[in-house]
């Protein structure tokens, strides 16, 4: 089984939840990610330093494990996870998901995974992204009657440890203000929606007259398509650094909001949010290398930077996302 999830970016994964797999349960720290659909964790069959630093699943210790012997491969944006498919009980919060298919990783996607605090990934994208023949975790929860509504929601806090939450089956309105603005999903792969424009100081600087945006809990940045970066980079006087851009930190106090207009509603993002401050680096990612290609995607990624400001609902029943100030 092969799955391709090109927007997954390991580098910036920032929010983890705890799940357990097997009987008795074995615990894992997983990224809750709307940009992919599969669940995978490292297994005891994984060799190398990267796996040695993480919790690994031991199927021999689980009485409910069923192996399939089927090799799987999940290709992410720049790397790949390889392993085999197994089935076991997955516990997430108080929910018990029986017979869940998941990947047992036998090879970590690169030695850089040694620097990952998380063990695996739990995808919340559409089933069409998943390894063929497997049912994603969220779909299984719904199919097994464990949720009252076919939706989930994220509230992400900028605080280091506490305050962030994934809601399953219902939305708690105390987490947002005003009304949820609903936007239909335009492509049932990612949580992809149409965006009207991106503006600064009242002037459109990108996405003039419509583009696509992926509402992406699980990746931390705003990622703009390569063909839109030049204008914005000029406006904020950012310097090229590898495939990213850096900016003087003082600029955080002077730069204007980036205003994303989606379905006629404005979503301002202040400079203090869209500039990532760590030592003297920051700004958002792009790929200059790809600018001159004749065929280039025009898809933005609205990651955690955006979702810390806006509460997000992912409504599978109606194929729409809801956004409101968090």
């Amino acid at each position: 089984g092969i799955s391709l999830e090109p927007m997954r970016n390991y580098l910036d994964l920032a929010y983890i939840g705890i799940i357990s797999i097997g009987t008795p349960p074995q615990e894992f720290k997983v990224i809750l990610d709307t940009g992919s659909t599969d669940l995978w964790v490292p297994s005891i069959y994984c060799v190398g330093q990267a796996c040695a630093d993480h919790n690994v699943f031991n199927p021999l210790l689980s009485s409910t494990f069923r192996g399939s012997g089927r090799p799987i491969s999940i290709a992410y944006g720049t790397r790949q996870m390889s392993g085999f498919l197994g089935y076991d009980t997955v516990k997430i919060g108080d929910l018990v998901d029986v017979g869940q298919g998941f990947g047992l990783n036998v090879k970590e996607p690169g030695k850089f995974m040694k620097y990952a605090v998380f063990d695996g990934i739990l995808g919340l994208g559409y089933p069409s992204l998943s390894v063929e023949g497997t049912t994603p975790v969220f779909d299984n929860l719904w199919n097994q009657g464990l949720l009252s509504q076919n939706l989930f929601a994220f509230c992400l806090s900028s605080k280091e440890e506490k305050g962030s939450v994934l809601m399953l089956g219902r939305v708690d309105p105390s987490y947002y203000t005003r009304n949820l603005n609903w936007v239909p999903v335009s492509k049932l792969l990612y949580w992809q929606i149409a965006m009207d424009s991106v503006a600064m100081n009242g002037k459109v600087v990108a996405c003039d007259g419509n583009c696509q945006a992926i509402v992406h809990a699980g990746t931390s940045l705003l990622i703009d398509p390569p063909n839109s970066i030049r204008g914005i980079r000029k406006k904020i006087n950012a310097q090229h650094f590898g495939s990213e851009h850096i900016i003087e930190c003082d600029a955080i106090h002077t730069l204007p909001d980036l205003v994303f207009t989606i379905n006629g509603v404005n979503y301002p993002v202040p400079a203090s949010a869209y500039i990532q401050q760590a030592a003297l680096r920051g700004c958002w990612s792009s790929s200059e290398e790809y600018v001159n290609k004749s065929h280039s995607t025009n898809t933005w990624v609205l990651g955690d930077v955006f979702l810390r400001l806006y509460f997000s609902v992912f409504d599978r029943a109606n194929d729409r996302t809801g956004l409101a100030p968090a």
Binding site: N9, L13, T78, D172, G242, E289
Partner: protein, 45 residues
Amino acid sequence: CLVKIPLMKIKSIRENLWENDMLKDYLEKYPYSLAYKLLDRYQDQ
């Protein structure tokens, strides 16, 4: 009816690579352009 899963904010691989002075090497080796190339191909198909 409502299941809340607490999430924790962690240090990203980017931050860890930065602290170990490996971020630039990583970004040169695995630029985002690869992801965009894949996305284009995928959407075409």
